[in-house]
Amino acid sequence: MSDAALHEVAFARYHRWLARAAGTTVPLVVCNAAGELVWCDESEAATALVQAMLDLRHTGFDWAFAGGGFATQPLPVEQTLLYRPIAVADVPAGWLATCVPAFAAGAEPATLDALAECFEDMAASIADECRLKTDLNGMTEELAERYEELHMVYGVDQHVREHGHQEELFGRLLESCAQHLDIDVVAFVRPAKNQCVSAEQLSAPIHNLDLVLVELRGDLFRFVQATRDAVIINAADDPRRAYVLTDMPYKVLACPVRCTDQIDAALVLLNHAHKHDFTNGDRRLAEVLANQLSSLTQTVSLIQQLAGFNQQMAAALVEAVEAKDPYTRGHSERVHHIAMDIGRALNLSDRDLENLFWGSLLHDVGKIGIPDAVLCKPARLTADEYAFIKVHPERSYEILRHIEYLADALPGARHHQEMWDGGGYPHGLKGDHIPLAARIIAVADTYDSITSSRAYRAGRSHEEAMREINRVSGKQLDPSIVALFNYLCEAEPEWLLRFKIRREPALADHG
């Protein structure tokens, strides 16, 4: 046990206790197990006693103690030293000492028995106090560790609540870990997915950080994967440096991040050599974070799978529609792309953009219910045939309403054939009563219908489409969205080339 607890004891109280037992003031000196001074009272007698004991130590005094209240040792100045050990759990933790005027054998002063009893009780009481203080300090340390863990877990929770499972979440988590634990580099490496996220809180520059990160996701990761346990490398001459971080003098703490049974990622903490060694406390904290990262990784990958599944289902639906009419191939995708451009230019909220995303992609799904003979007819439609065409937005709605997630995306698809002046279908909505997403899709849909080839005609040029769109602006189409679309197209968006939109030769305006 260390001296720390002994130093915390309030010895003045014991000194008063001793004086009461002796019936007079006697000096009190407390030494540690090695005989070094821990405490003495402020009397001259105590100062003299400390000096006498110091002289005694130089003569090779061995603190012999055979039991009883105390041992005695004559001192040169007509005094007798009385001393006894303070034993905490049978291990000497220190010594209590006092002195009385020298006495001859058989002529012991009357108070000696009382002093002996008092010394015994004091030593026991001080030992109890030391043990309690040591226990309390141990518990306090434990509590401090728990605070750290709680702080970290709460912090992760807070970040997840603020940022959801976005791409930047991991970066932010590592950043707060680096700050919180004051670590130079914290990295999450997942070589199989080519993922390496890191954060720095550098106490000194690292010039070849890129190289270090390469090493982390290479040899160090494989080492952690093989040991299946946290690895701490502090010493510069650690033999493991022959395989990992060779010639890189950093202290390393690396934790496996388990995904089900496999270790496919690792959390790595790096410190410059001048910093403290990584401890078991650091290791426990890193393991807590690694566990959290593991469950977050799984959640993120589930979300990605689900998002992928949604996209693929939507693509399959679109494919089913477009398979009916080869001329409409790519139409949904093009309308979707242009509508999203307009939506972003309108600064729609993330939620509205998400709805526009699905609404524009799936707006023509209802065409699945139109007979092929009508849908692919290479000539003008009869009124009856046109009636079939007109039900398709409502059919889109009927098909998609079964998908709860798309509930807010449906109005865009259902009403994309409404006209600004109320002359459209299926409900004859007018102006602002037409959902915004539907008005956006209508502009994109009109544009693509004109510029793409149909069974009965070749696609017309961009300029022609714009003239037509501007002609029907305020009648069929929302004029403010048409204005925005004009503005967007002036910047020659990249999709003009990608969708191979035909262009009219530019007028020779340079003379």
Partner: protein, 128 residues
């Protein structure tokens, strides 16, 4: 040796901070509420003040405001411990110069790192 004054009515928090800061080489004084804290600051300004917010008699907000009022030339940093969810506390903390917040459950390591950063600033300059 730099002195840190910890004002917290929860003895276990004060004890944890005292022990960890002492191990990090600071002298640590503690006070159980804002009143005692303010008296200690005025008696001898510490090198740093760490205070809880919710306390009996004088709370942390009143303590920090009193310290800012009484010692306008104060050169020591103040850390206020707030719960991670108490967003509104952060607004008044941000408005005071040289006052930072630490999130509860407090990380003793973070406090040690923040203290080292704050006290590494040149002495004597107002801590802003």
């Amino acid at each position: 040796m730099k002195t840190v004054l910890i004002v917290d009515d929860e003895p276990h928090v004060a004890r944890v901070l005292k022990l960890t800061l002492e191990r990090a080489g600071y002298r640590v004084l503690t006070a159980p509420d804002g009143e005692a804290g303010l008296a200690a600051v005025l008696a001898a300004p510490p090198d740093a003040l760490v205070s809880d917010i919710q306390m009996p008699r004088m709370d942390g907000r009143a303590l920090v405001q009193a310290v800012c009022r009484e010692l306008p030339q104060r050169s020591f940093p103040i850390f206020v411990m707030t719960s991670m969810t108490a967003r509104e506390e952060r607004d008044w903390v941000r408005q005071l110069p040289g006052v930072q917040f630490l999130e509860k459950p407090l990380s003793p390591r973070q406090l040690i790192a923040e203290l080292a950063r704050a006290l590494a600033a040149p002495a004597g300059e107002p801590h802003v």
